[in-house]
Assembly symmetry: C2
Homo-oligomer: 199 residues x 2
DNA sequence: AGATGCATGTAACGGGTTACATGATTAC
DNA sequence: GTAATCATGTAACCCGTTACATGCATCT
């Protein structure tokens, strides 16, 4: 149940609608925790029922039929967020398709193996680019979310707020680099096995 | 739906019961893909209904009331396995509690942050030990599963069978090392922030 | 007038976890 | 005889995905 806390933390920087949260989640900041929009809307309603957030309903469009709802964290919500952040959690259990599949590449022709290592490399190279870009943005305190967050916090804490996020995103970048290197060693391995007649 | 393929691959090395598969899954080999025992038993029944495996039912114990079922892959199952291995899949979407939480360590007292980085380090150090041990076992072709797998495959393919698995497990070890390093940099960061009065 | 994109949802389904149930074997 | 462990399952629940529905806005 981490989605709710990711939502609480994001909302703590300032009120947002479900749509804005969904955008924030999948394009920029929280690529650490994936969530789809139906999930976000549903979870927000749930958080509202539990009084961890409150919604401000406003008309959307000119006809006044459609509405949008901007959510704000309540005091209880903030407490729940702090409680969660300070709690040590069980590590996520491993479930990694790419590595699982690579375990059994013996069952596939060399070209299929190569194709998959190449796809792996491409995906993580792209991720790496994103993480690196994001680290720069954070350091420059240039993202919307960060500015809103900093505006609400006392100045002496700004360094910590930025530093933890930078640390996380640098960790993700490091990971992506490792995946790229792993895929490249994989490609070399396929070549080697084929050259030596083992495939 | 990777569990079924992990099961098919494991069974392809030789018949096993659900219990043996569960053990294989969580203690030694397939720590790349976590699965609990109810899930394994259920999936095996499903694979059986789809004719991807067949079960050999045998009495268990002396009273002859309880039974056990040893599963074997069918030709269709092997084809499905090969098809899956050769297919490029969407990468698993990121969902990482530890990194998500670390993003918000600003909300926690420094000691709570330290405790979590320490737990992270301990967990991945232990994982690293496991992966390294496993790589050694594989290279020595010393695991049960590997020996059964090799016994069924033509000799000229042995090198590839071992090499792919070693590559995967070395990748996992590399990852674990990166997580340990990340946690250590995290600990240093908390110290630094506290020393400079930012917490 | 129709297509595309913004914005907010609901419903059905599937995979995975936790809790529970049951029987056999081994060690004390 | 009782506790622990081996072994096989079922049931309820929760989280997340996919597909569908709806309304407004903008561009052509």
């Amino acid at each position: 149940m981490s989605l709710r806390h990711a939502l609480l933390a994001t909302l703590d920087a300032g009120a947002m609608t479900g749509y804005e949260l969904a955008k924030t989640f999948d394009q920029s900041a929280n690529r650490v925790w994936h969530a789809t929009h139906p999930q976000i809307y549903t979870e927000l309603r749930k958080l509202e029922r539990e009084n961890l957030v409150v919604a401000q309903e406003e008309p959307r469009g000119t006809q006044g039929k459609a509405t949008k709802r901007a959510y704000t964290v309540t005091e209880a919500g903030r407490e729940e967020l702090c409680r969660w952040v300070a709690t040590v959690e069980e590590p996520t259990l491993p479930r990694d398709v790419a590595h699982l599949k690579a375990t059994y590449f013996e069952y596939a022709p060399p070209d299929a193996a190569r194709e998959q290592f190449a796809a792996h490399r491409a995906y993580h190279a792209e991720q790496l680019r994103r993480w690196e870009w994001h680290v720069e943005q954070l350091r420059a305190r240039g993202t919307d979310l960060m500015q809103r967050r900093l505006a609400k916090a006392p100045k002496e804490r700004h360094a910590a707020i930025v530093a933890y996020k930078v640390h996380v995103y640098e960790g993700m970048a490091e990971r992506a680099r490792a995946e790229v290197a792993w895929a490249e060693r994989g490609l070399a391995l396929v070549d080697e096995l084929e050259r030596d007649g083992f495939m």
